[in-house]
Symmetry: C2
Subunit: 303 residues, 2 copies
Amino acid sequence: MLAGVETDILGEGLKRVQADIDSLFDALLPVPEDTSARLIEAMRYAAIGGGKRVRPLLVVSTASMFGVSRDAALRAGAAIEAIHVYSLIHDDLPCMDDDDLRHGKPTLHKVYDEATAVLAGDALHALAFEILAEEETSTDPFVRSELIATLGKASGMHGMAGGQMMDMVADEEGVTYDLQAITRLQQLKTGALLAASVEMGAVLGRVAPQGRAHLRAYARDIGLAFQIADDLLDVEGDVEKAGKALRKDSEQGKQTFVTLMGVDKAREQARALVDQAIGHLSSHGPEADILRALARFIVERDR
Amino acid sequence: MLAGVETDILGEGLKRVQADIDSLFDALLPVPEDTSARLIEAMRYAAIGGGKRVRPLLVVSTASMFGVSRDAALRAGAAIEAIHVYSLIHDDLPCMDDDDLRHGKPTLHKVYDEATAVLAGDALHALAFEILAEEETSTDPFVRSELIATLGKASGMHGMAGGQMMDMVADEEGVTYDLQAITRLQQLKTGALLAASVEMGAVLGRVAPQGRAHLRAYARDIGLAFQIADDLLDVEGDVEKAGKALRKDSEQGKQTFVTLMGVDKAREQARALVDQAIGHLSSHGPEADILRALARFIVERDR
């Protein structure tokens, strides 16, 4: 369990980021008066409210260690979150995972229709890069360009989309992965975007690439711990709290960290990764406390 | 009909750009040895071969007027084309236009499956921004960032995606648009990306925003002419040559420039727009000849 003080730091941090990201999406997505209104309403339905906002909190917390303004970090966080939300919309489609529930409410294609869901996902995808290309995110065009390169790489064929395809091939063609392959798959599918969150915080803070090694190591470890925790949640979680369908992996007979390692070993591994992640922050003082708390939260969360 | 010399300039230009864009996508999309290979193979199927490459030719031709290296302009052209291709993949999905034929071959979801088509579209979308964020496109981060802002805006909710939603709402809710509304819809759906092609050529050429007004006017006019020509093709075209389904608009009782204006008036209007577009290039000499030829090609093409 999390210690009291850590829970407070983290609880406050998450609550504040959740409110800030909701306001930012609200401001970025005014509903127009023409017939494209449905598109923006659909984007708002998916983007505002409900998310844990772990990725924006990672950006904001990392950026704050290097004195970056909260507003700039929030914009970068909103860009990553827009990518995360678009990927959930497309993942939930009938032709993909066919899910009816997300963040405790009906999925977008259930409320609107599939075509609107495809298009709203696409528009959120474009929005992410629009946000990063604007001067409000950074007055330094080099920083903007580096943020965009980082996010594009993490979300595209060498990141999230590549991992999703590996996952899909396993489902459809009955390919079974060993622990090494599952680790690689998850590093792409989930880990790349979490790592990009930390990386973009460091880019905003103008930390030179060689000075980011320990942050990258932290991000890699929490990314893997995050996925193991997700696999544990799928087996042990409460659907009510999770706000999404569970037991899907086991019903599909899918290989996960839990099927490969067993529940106890998987939990042990997740905790070891968290300890290791926190170890990578040893050169930082209390300014990194929220990253430490976030690492613990990732394996203890119930949704 | 096009004059002989213009056909030559244009025919050569298109052929060369088609070959160059194909090689560039080939280089950008090496097939990996892991199970994400299917994703990259699907991206290649959709992106390599078949397209007219009007948008890349617009970028390359505009950029060459200002002395930009062909390699840089081709990369920007490939980025726009990646966006164009992703939008066609998603448009062709069963939940959208449900098309079986594109560029004379089966659509991506027919060859693979819907999930692969969604994901390949998403990955091409990300690829566009990855390409633009790299130094090979421009060593000046300000130029890179401006290219990304231009493309993000043209493809997102205030551009292509917004126009597609307006189109979808008309189909589903039986909203009928008048000529003004159809013009606005098409300016978003098709015009925005064509205009961005010219704009990005000018950005690469470091033409100041105020010096781009006549190029913007040219792009706006050819964008509209392009769509009127598409509506004419839908009515009068040859399916074999077009390489895609035709007569869809009239079968669906959809409002288009042709239903609103009639065939003769629509053709007259398209030609007037082309003359007007060419008029906007009067301050340029022979270096703009290819843009002039391209404007004429847009209304005379048979696919």
